[in-house]
Point group: C2
Chain length 373, copies 2
Amino acid sequence: MSATKKSTLVLVAERAGVSIASVSRVMNGLPASDAIVERVQKAADELGYVPDATARSLKAGKTQQIALAVADAGNPVYVAMMHEISRVVTKAGYRLILSSTGSEPGDQIDLLTNLNRGFADGLVMSPLKVTDELVARIQASRLPIVVIGSLPGDVEIDNVRADSVRGVGLAVEHLVEQGRQRIAFVNGPVDTVPGAARLGGYLRALDEQGLPHNADAQVNARDFTYKAGLKAVTKLLDRSTPDSIVCANDLLAIAAIKVITARGLRVPEDIALVGMDDTDLAELANPSITSVNLGSVKRAKTAAKLLLRRLEDPDAPVRREVIQPTLTIRESTSSPARPAVDPAANPAARQAAGETAPATPEPTRNQKREPLL
Amino acid sequence: MSATKKSTLVLVAERAGVSIASVSRVMNGLPASDAIVERVQKAADELGYVPDATARSLKAGKTQQIALAVADAGNPVYVAMMHEISRVVTKAGYRLILSSTGSEPGDQIDLLTNLNRGFADGLVMSPLKVTDELVARIQASRLPIVVIGSLPGDVEIDNVRADSVRGVGLAVEHLVEQGRQRIAFVNGPVDTVPGAARLGGYLRALDEQGLPHNADAQVNARDFTYKAGLKAVTKLLDRSTPDSIVCANDLLAIAAIKVITARGLRVPEDIALVGMDDTDLAELANPSITSVNLGSVKRAKTAAKLLLRRLEDPDAPVRREVIQPTLTIRESTSSPARPAVDPAANPAARQAAGETAPATPEPTRNQKREPLL
DNA sequence: CTGTTAGCGCTTTCAA
DNA sequence: TTGAAAGCGCTAACAG
């Protein structure tokens, strides 16, 4: 299986007939006479010597490793962020350690304790739930930590977050512009940071648009997954007839497509759909999903850079960055350009007009309205 | 930002009034008198002492870290494998280092050199392309390496692979059973290990089924991505009229759905579809995609365990495992089972049967067919 | 049972 | 310029 034994400074020094200090200098490009450089290089090559990372770390007090902790590793948006962080820190000469944690604050706290073992020089984390204790622990940490996601008040922690309130606002505004009035909301758990923020954004956006709040038009999935989304959307459609839905992430939006089309309704004609996170899934979906881009990649990149900055300057002032959202418009909200305005032939327009049922019978009506699930 | 300075064995020893050896023993649960245990524990608690991982590593010659190198980190199947490996090694007390590499063998070779720096105890890798040099380097590696994916001949490297030839066979057989005869194949690059294997499987399966080879019915996407898939499928449909397509992975299959529906054709009625890898995407797609499960999670798990085994027994015999594929049947190949009841009256049932539109004209039909792209 | 001591492999004064 | 030597924080002989 394996081969040549591991070679060390000492071995190289012996072979080159110099001191270990000289070998070290040559390996690090420090000044040395040509003669020594040459002999050391030769010996090192022959022995296939490469400096040991652990020994270096011990000596330097740095590991060149950065840890990443995300709660919901199954969500494509975190995968995308992970890749971006990996890219940035690798370029800076760091290795990335994946510290999968559960979604509970306790898990993250365990991780913080563990971090003190010094296996990494810093941490990027994106907690789904933030408790006072977690915040306290982060602040008390000996190692630099950058948090992705909203943090309460004015805690002095390097932080980069999305403006998801504004993000939901963009979604709602867009739908209103498309003539939608009954805008439902499929959220994840509201005891999570994103869940709470997105709900707040939804309610605020309704107010801004002068639309009424309607409890029946809101539903919370058990978590931010596709499966939970199926249940939530089913529940939603069982008790209300929205002309559009804002989903708190793209997975929930995909679930919405499934449920909607399974009921014989169409996206976007009958129900328009906006997702959030603007992950690859939004593009892959059929129809593709208009999605609020919360700048996940940019957040990831910024977070990584913030950490690198603090690593080289521990006394730099704390930075709290907010990434502005944008809206990527796709098929799920593209209003069908209908030539003649015959409400009966166009359920979306009909609903937009605030009419729940036409006075005259209409062929597809019963089929479409019939509750199926 | 930070807080209490780092505390070491020495600090704890001083505070407890004992030797550092005693502290070490207590921290490691080695025999010690109750009195000492108590005093050390107290001192350690007060100082918030946790043993330093780097120092331990240097002493022990082990890092408790495992590196993972996958070429195509964007592909959901690798993400799934990553999670599984993370799960398994974490449970065994290892940290996982993500070593993203490019798809070229050169990148992987660089990584192997780097591995010799000893930042990890072992490596799990899944190279997209395998050259003789890469194989040689793996064999010459001082550290245990497990390769996920096919390896040439009988090289003595711990290895776990999928039987993708059989996998494609399952797909083709299934389609034939569904009455499909003109089975096209959308592959990725054939200069990759999976690309080559899947092509081989396709040709062989055609032979076994007594179906003719048809060059027009085969196309290779530039890579295994959605985007490349769009192009490839477009090209395919421009020059042939298959009644079904086997796609070399789920991303390509999703691309196929897009292109097919954009042309006003239906999946599965006009063209049935089988993907490969059986990722979450296959379930999320609309219609959901029948997919060959190549045991990615099981492969990942097996690979991780193989590595752990070798870590504790470097002289264990080399193992080469093959994971058998299965087929997960979903909507994209479900033959429309027409119920006695009038399908038009029940859209959900129609959908569940995998039928997007009935054969006979029906009011909403045209709306549904309307291509959105 | 407990303390002393010698390294793990490296970087970095400090002298020469 | 080069070498000798002192540790980084820990574990594991080895004495006592």
